[in-house]
Symmetry: C2
Subunit: 388 residues, 2 copies
């Protein structure tokens, strides 16, 4: 059953090989000062930086820069970004990169005019902004997080060993995003497949919750089937436009709030993954893949019917003559095969986790309420140990 909800997603998307031309439509809507936000500089190698800068200049903008946003953006870096945005009197924050860069831009956007400490207010405190928000636009170069069309923003505080995601309201969503699948072609395979698993995990965090019948579940089964199909094509042929364009679109819809409407969601794999990330700085998607199988096997008995439906409708398991449990487990087994085929991290050791870290990671793991089993601390420890 669909519970009561409010849905609004005003982000404008420019999709395809001409997506960057969308900047020419959008830039005139904002003031002259643009803070260009990006990461480690790969956009300078693949030509995206030059292409964006050319359009910014042609549109008569004053361009200021905020480079060096790291894969798991830190609170320290956000303070730096706030200062830069203030100094440049930025009218628009243009994030060019993957989810981390866009997440970071949102953190800056709500903090430039905020008088309180942003980390305490938004991330620890979970408050909504009550100040002016500097608009964010995005040019996406890596798929996975859905940050291009939602209010999500994950920031890591190394001092506090906390990685916290805040889901802001629609006034913090990017005003526009340019999605050119070709921009994802040059991503190293490790990052590419981590992104694929991030997408899958986003869908599962929303799918593996509730026992009701729900339109969203049918839609998510479609999104997962499309992702599985295209991911295997992209693995062999990363420049396959058909596969990469479908994956890019799937990623956006996996986490732009649509499929979550009216249902409960879990997000416990992300809580585990965030805690691992705070201890290891490992790639986000890999922290998720490394704990997933242990987590899903742990909760399977509590959501058996849904796991069995997942096996049949997504993985094509033939249920004839099998118990529900057998069907459900065969589904997870096929999923693990797919994960191994992609080359995902299947354990925490690979990511640099050592047994002495387990208790600390367990302490840093938030317990959510929406999944098939509300974990106790001992469940968390057991899942982490099993993932080692």
């Amino acid at each position: 059953m669909l519970g009561n909800f409010v849905y609004c997603n005003p982000t404008k998307l420019y999709f395809g090989t001409t997506a960057l031309e969308g900047l020419r439509e959008e830039l005139p809507k904002y003031g002259k000062n643009v803070l260009l936000i990006y990461g480690g500089g790969s956009i300078k190698k693949n030509g995206i930086y030059d292409a964006v800068l050319k359009i910014l200049k042609e549109c008569g903008k004053n361009v200021y820069e905020d480079a060096g946003v790291m894969p798991n953006p830190t609170s320290e870096k956000v303070y730096d970004g706030i200062r830069r945005a203030r100094e440049s009197k930025a009218d628009l924050l243009l994030a060019v990169g993957g989810g981390s860069v866009i997440d970071y831009a949102k953190a800056v956007s709500v903090s430039v005019h905020c008088k309180e400490d942003f980390w305490e207010k938004y991330y620890v405190g979970g408050a909504e902004p009550d100040c002016e928000i500097v608009p964010v636009g995005a040019v996406l170069t890596m798929v996975g997080t859905g940050s291009e069309m939602n209010g999500g923003s994950v920031i890591t505080n190394h001092e506090q060993k906390l990685k916290i995601g805040h889901v802001f309201g629609e006034n913090v969503f990017p005003k526009f995003s340019c999605l050119n699948p070709e921009f994802t072609f040059t991503l190293p395979e490790y990052q590419m497949v981590a992104g694929f698993y991030d997408i899958m995990c986003h869908i599962l965090e929303q799918y593996l919750s509730d026992t009701d019948d729900n339109t969203s579940d049918y839609v998510m089964e479609g999104l997962m089937r499309s992702l599985i199909h295209s991911s295997l094509i992209a693995l062999k042929d990363p420049k396959n436009y058909e596969a990469r364009s479908n994956i890019m679109w799937t990623a956006t819809w996996a986490l732009n709030t649509f499929v979550a409407m009216g249902k409960t969601t879990d997000w416990e794999v992300h809580m585990l993954g965030h805690a691992v990330g705070a201890y290891t700085n490992a790639t986000h998607g890999m922290t998720l893949s490394a704990v997933s199988m242990a987590y899903y096997h742990h909760i399977l008995p509590y959501g058996l019917a849904k796991f069995a439906r997942f096996a049949v409708n997504v993985w094509g398991v033939d249920a004839a003559g099998k118990t529900e449990k057998q069907v459900a487990e065969e589904g997870l087994s096929r999923m693990a095969d797919w994960m191994r085929k992609l080359g995902l991290a299947m354990d925490l050791k690979t990511l640099g986790v050592t047994p002495d870290m387990i208790e600390g990671i367990a302490d840093a793991t938030f317990i959510n309420q929406g999944g098939y089993k509300v974990l106790e601390r001992k469940d968390v420890v057991s899942i982490l140990k099993e993932s080692l």
Copy 2:
């Protein structure tokens, strides 16, 4: 493959049993004068009129009325609406009803400040508005058209015997829509099932086009499976909230532009249905169901692989040991069974079409370019005759 596109859908949705409370959030954003637009008065019997009026009054609005919008709203009625909106200096057009009422409100919204003739400019001419647009809000009482979250507006000109749909840009989309599934409980069964088929047909018009692999196709298969499942529950138990809420949500997403992005679409069944509607004034969904089977069988050879995929993924046809054609035809046969179970019109005779009307209906049928076969006039005549 996903072609290039721009996507933006800013409509805010309030969904569920408390949806009407969304009006209290939205009304303060607009001026004092509200033109309340509705149909034949069923909203006065079921209490929706009183509930809406109460909130309008509590929010301090001056309420003006435009009642009597007919199921296939006419150009004549739109002129009347334009006059009423001008006289009341309407700041907001609040459409309370099904797709016809919302379609009509959109036609008025773009015409109040338009100096040219609205029918010639927008519907015959296909132009976009270049004048101020009066904002539209909606309270949905009947599902099917998706008009609550798109720019579509179908108007019938009886004098010219033309029923034309214009798809306006996002500036004409309703600013907000309130979707309470309970408001659909009292709809007569004939209207309910016609709405169900309208939803199915919307999806098929977008699904049965292209030979590429496409995320949207997977999503649409999910939407159709959800619809088929819930429609049969609703048929037996129209007050089943789970079924009606899922159908309401499916209807919105079937036609709010999402699934059409990056792919070609057909819409030829709607062209046939509109022509039938202009001659008979029959319920929209029934004009679609009456011509569908003849149309699909006619184009099946040209889109065989997709029809076979449809049979397997949506209708659960077992493909083992069968030719692609057999699989495809078994899919259509199962679909026809579902349609008969719902009690849909399966031929044109039922809708009052007589053999002497065929040539006129064929003349009034627009030929689209996006389907598996671009029809010639003789195809249209043959499909219509077969549908008799």
